[in-house]
């Protein structure tokens, strides 16, 4: 497979994409001018990345707090290792659950291995939803905690691509 952009251009493009597409009629043309390539080459590169699974999704990334979703709870649970996959898959389907991940325990400081994010407008509503979800899945007795967020200090996308200076240094 021939490469359409050179390495430096490809990394540059990834950094630009991480910051978001320009709000212009031809956003890829704008990016193409910034990396010094053609619009077609940039579009083809982005399609290849998309096809290869580099993107989780493509679209609007909203700030849920500004849109009124201020009750944002992280439910953490200590699920026995042998059933964490099964419970995770079940809770991942539950209404209101936006993310469901397994993460390592860090004993003795942190005993929880399953994380669910639940967003809502009102705290009571989110609490009720979570209680109901735990009850329906027979999880009421398992050790768990609800960590509501009370303030967002920062909310932006991940910056994975190294700075251009580092790419250049690595050749």
């Amino acid at each position: 497979m021939t490469s359409l952009l050179n390495d430096l251009q490809a990394w540059q493009l990834r950094r630009l994409l991480e910051a978001g597409l320009p709000l212009a009629a031809r956003p890829y043309q704008v990016l193409a001018e910034r990396v010094g390539a053609s619009e077609e080459a940039v579009l083809e590169q982005v399609r290849r990345w998309s096809d290869s699974g580099l993107f989780r999704r493509m679209g609007l990334v909203i700030k849920h707090r500004a849109l009124g979703f201020r009750a944002n709870a992280m439910l953490v649970m200590d699920i026995p290792d042998e059933c964490v996959d099964e419970v995770g898959r079940k809770l991942g389907q539950a209404a209101g659950v936006n993310l469901c991940y397994q993460r390592p325990r860090r004993l003795p400081d942190w005993p929880y291995n399953l994380f669910c994010m639940v967003h809502g407008r009102e705290r009571e509503q989110v609490c009720r939803l979570i209680e109901q979800m735990l009850a329906e899945n027979g999880l009421h007795d398992i050790p768990h905690q609800l960590l509501f967020s009370t303030r967002a200090f920062k909310q932006c996308g991940g910056r994975y691509a190294p700075p251009a200076s580092q790419v250049a240094a690595h050749g």
Binding site: G20, I62, Y160
Partner: protein, 158 residues
């Protein structure tokens, strides 16, 4: 970050959010394609997105990278004494590799995501954060995803 007042969401914003948090067309004129799908004009879509962005409801538009493919990431928690909270939150915010830095109600009260090109970079950042803040970070990388973030319907979310 706006606090204390809910933004009014106009009907077109609502439709854009409900329809295009994922599955945005990947073509030369994506906003025109989105307008066609919603039976409105490209100018209306662009004006609406600009307005959403300037009012603080839109972070950005485009790809959300799959962190297992895009590089390395981890969820980090710090137990910050109340008196140092503002200072530590600011120190953490200064890292470009930090996103989603939240205050949560817990002994571990500061929660953020660290991203980087590889795990070695994450390890280096964790050491740097520990040295800078004097606090030992909890390092909680994802081991399995049972549901990934595809956005959520603003109309009928809880």
């Amino acid at each position: 970050m706006k606090r204390g007042c809910d933004m009014q969401i106009d009907p077109l914003s609502r439709r854009l959010i409900d329809r295009f948090q994922h599955g945005m067309p990947l073509c030369a004129e994506p906003y025109r394609a989105m307008a066609d799908a919603l039976e409105c004009s490209e100018d209306e879509v662009l004006a609406c997105l600009e307005q959403l962005e300037s009012s603080g409801g839109l972070s950005r538009i485009g790809p959300v990278f799959e962190h297992s493919r895009a590089g390395a990431s981890t969820l980090v928690a710090l137990a910050v004494p109340e008196a140092q909270l503002e200072q530590v939150a600011e120190q953490i915010n200064r890292y470009p590799e930090v996103n989603h830095n939240y205050l949560r109600e817990h002994h571990y009260n500061l929660w953020f995501v660290l991203t980087g090109p590889d795990r070695a970079r994450i390890d280096a950042l964790l050491l740097q954060i520990e040295a800078e803040t004097g606090l030992v970070p909890l390092d909680l990388p994802m081991q399995a995803a049972y549901r990934i973030d595809l956005g959520f319907p603003i109309g009928d979310a809880p």
